[in-house]
Amino acid sequence: MKRLLIIFITLTAAFAGVKAQSVAKDLQADPNRAAGMFYALPIGKMPKDTPAPAGKRPFYINHYGCPGSYYLDKKEYYTDTYATFAKADSLGKLTKLGKDVFRRIKLLCQDAQDRDGELTPIGAQQSRDMVKQLVERYPDMFTPDGYYSVRSIVENRCIMTMQEGLLQLSAMHHPIIARSKASLQENRFMCPEDKILTSQRTDSLTLLHYNRFVSLNSSDNRLMQSLFNDPFYVVSSIDVPKLARQLFILAGNVQHANVKNKVTLWDIFTQNEIHQHWRKQNAWHYINYGGCTLNGGYQAYLQRSTLRNMMHMGDSVLKRYSPLMHLRYTNEQVIMSMACLMELNDYGLHTDNLDSLEAYGWANYRIAPLGGSIIMIHYRANHDDPDVLVKVLLNGEEARLPIKTDCAPYYHWKDVKRYYLRKIYRYENRRFSHKKR
């Protein structure tokens, strides 16, 4: 028994080691991934499709998408950081590197001025690219009798993402029958609210764990020493964790800026520091949007009405004869929680150990980067085919569902629907049942 346990532990450790290395490798290959949910999904890479079982053809696409890459909502990331450096500069406290970083921040500030929250040209391209790929990958969906219903939440960058996608569709499909809408009326399934659930996100116990995790993953002294020439000034006048975090956020957002070819901020961090900062962000996202058991493990259920809508739509389109596509553009947090709730690629992970996320492969940039999406594609042989199959694409790539199937990555719609609806109802029953257990 003991031996078994030892083997098990060694195996787990080895397994964890492999995965952890892969995040490190990911970040080394492209430090922009450290931006996490602000990582811009690369453009132009066409994923491969596993051929559908014989005779099955797509007839319905149900898409939920993040906005494309955009400028930070909070301009304070730019202006506060700028102010900190400007003050230090005026007092002669900047090193040579510090001065250069100040210059770069100035450029970033100028680039982002009056653009808070705005979709970038890269974001526009991402959106067009996604639609282009859909049209090219699933030509059966784009017949003259196809109908395309497009929705966005009332958030400018999402509306812009929607409109860019529509432009691409319109350029590739003639004549087109498409309807679009951006209305607060549809928030109930596009971007639902659940105040009770969100109020439980960061209870004191969770915060305690998180803060401990943060302090274990913080070492900003080297960075400060490299930027400021006076340790006393750093201690007395600078909020070190805040500044380090701001610089890290800015470094991750350079990839969206127009000046991205002229400027980088990754060089001021060591590989290890980048990894540490990412780890903190990743844990924070896991706590807020994932299945972290510290706060109960239910945060992803915030998106239950979105998932339920997905299931009900799947049923209500069965009687259609012509292809239908729903494109819905919402916040990246919605996609993040959806992916966790749907347990795509095991991202439904439940744990209270923030250190283990990497080992399990739970990495924010893999789940909901900007320009990312969850797309469910429904297949059948003909209108009366009782065995509808579905396939889910996460950020364009075929995803694994937590459901048994004989034709992965295709799943039987009946199984999928049963699994997810039961999952939702189980939760709601537990939460809203009047019976005392």
């Binding site: 529509l166 679009s180 607060l184």
Partner: protein
């Protein structure tokens, strides 16, 4: 002597009847299309059939500069609907509604329910308007909208404008899929796309203007017939129903419904006769004139709120003319920009300046003709080749050829250099 008096009388009669005929025609318009009475809530004329005058020999369109308002929308905030709605609810709670009043309240309940959560949203109808405008523009000027042409679209940061931009652009791609379209909605362009000059905007209601407006509106507001129709005891209801506000906002609520095609409820419009609508139009028209026209009662400078936009459009045109194939620049914004812009430039005589509000109608200063939902101003630039120095420009107001306040030898085409100079002189005349 006698003949002189006769002549004078004849002249007065002639002028009078002339005025009458003009007034008649606004009434006619309202009879045909009640929404015309709601001014900025007016629905864009659905079918534009106006023929375009061929360009002088050899001249071809090569660049389009445009400013357009978003398409039909839901009312932007609830206060306009809440005003009559709360009055009705109040009356209902006191059992003061007649059976007709009860029906009216039911319709209002429906409208409120359908509008909830949609304040300011572009309606499906609005999207159609924008699509049709985009399609017509691309089809009318294929020389500009040719494969590979650059089309730069800019919108204010208001969602309905972004959606309007997207709808128009999308339809253009249906006409010519190879267009190179870019879209932008940024705070960075607000300084000219949606500039509301605080100093000017705050100062439009001078004491003189207020006095003139009051004198003009007193005889036109109110509706005792409506009060008697809806309230059991109109005199008691007056305790909590302001007759003027009630009638005015109820009319607006009814007419607003013409902007939607989903759950449209037009029952309220039937409560009003053409004369009611016409009086409301007069009041609104005078009010819009004070706000955005060159009204002498407040210094006549209100149109200058759009000086930045006009300057930018001239600068854009200057740089685009230098290019061999500049394409089109489309801007999507609001009526409170378009109306003063039209007045500033003096399109179709809208630079009319007076201190007498009674003159507006006779002089054709009808705001509904300028800024219905989806209204637009298009400058079409012509030349025979990129080296041609004599660039001509034609203005389309709501897709119909319009006049400019300068002379030309080839109307409706104007020489760009003349028009440019005219605008620059006009801009230079403004002292802040």
């Amino acid at each position: 002597m006698n003949t002189k008096i006769k002549y004078t009388l004849l002249l007065i009669l002639a002028v009078g009847s002339c005025k009458l005929s003009v007034a008649q025609s606004v009434i006619d318009l309202i009879k045909q299309r009640p929404s015309y009475a709601s001014c900025n809530y007016d629905v864009y004329p659905d079918s534009i059939t106006a023929k375009l005058t061929p360009a002088p020999a050899g001249k071809k369109p090569f660049y389009i500069s445009h400013y357009g308002r978003h398409g039909s929308r839901y009312i932007s905030n609830r206060s306009g609907f809440d005003t009559p709605y709360y009055m009705m609810l109040h009356a209902d709670s006191l059992d003061e509604l007649t059976p007709t009043g009860q029906q009216v309240l039911q319709h209002m309940n429906n409208i409120m329910r359908n509008t909830e959560g949609r304040w300011g949203e572009l309606t499906g109808y609005g999207k159609q308007q924008m699509q049709k405008i985009g399609r017509r523009m691309a089809e009318r000027f294929p020389e500009v909208f040719h494969p590979g042409a650059n089309v730069t679209c800019i919108s204010t940061v208001v969602p309905r404008c972004i959606e309007s931009m997207g709808s128009a652009a999308m339809e253009m791609l249906q006409v010519c899929p190879q267009l190179h379209i870019t879209m932008q909605a940024s705070k960075r362009t607000q300084w000219y796309m949606n500039y509301q000059d605080k100093k000017l905007r705050k100062s439009y209601m001078t004491p003189e203007a207020q006095k003139a407006l009051d004198a003009y509106t007193t005889t036109r507001m109110g509706n005792t017939r409506l009060m008697e129709l809806i309230f059991k005891n109109p005199d008691i209801a007056e305790e909590f129903v302001n007759q003027e506000d009630f009638s005015y906002y109820l009319m607006k609520m009814g007419l607003f419904q013409l902007n939607t095609n989903f759950n449209r409820n037009t029952h309220l419009i039937g409560l009003f006769n053409t004369n009611d609508l016409y009086r409301m139009w007069q009041v609104d028209n005078a009010y819009w004139y004070l706000q955005h026209g060159a009204c002498k009662l407040n210094g006549g400078n209100q149109p200058y709120t759009q000086r930045h936009l006009l300057k930018k459009m001239i600068a854009d045109a200057d740089s685009c003319i230098k290019l061999p194939d500049p394409g089109a620049q489309l801007r999507f914004g609001h009526e409170t920009v378009l109306l003063p812009l039209v007045c500033l430039i003096g399109v179709n005589g809208f630079d009319f300046s007076t201190d007498n509000l009674d003159e507006l109608e006779g002089h054709g200063w009808w705001c509904s003709s300028v800024f219905p939902m989806a209204s637009n101003l298009q400058f079409i630039f012509y030349r025979s080749n990129p080296k041609d120095k004599d660039v001509l420009v034609k203005v389309l107001l709501n897709e119909v050829e319009a006049t400019l306040p300068i002379s030309t030898d080839c109307a409706p085409y104007y020489h760009w250099s003349d028009f440019r100079q005219y605008c620059l002189n006009k801009l230079a005349a403004y002292k802040q």
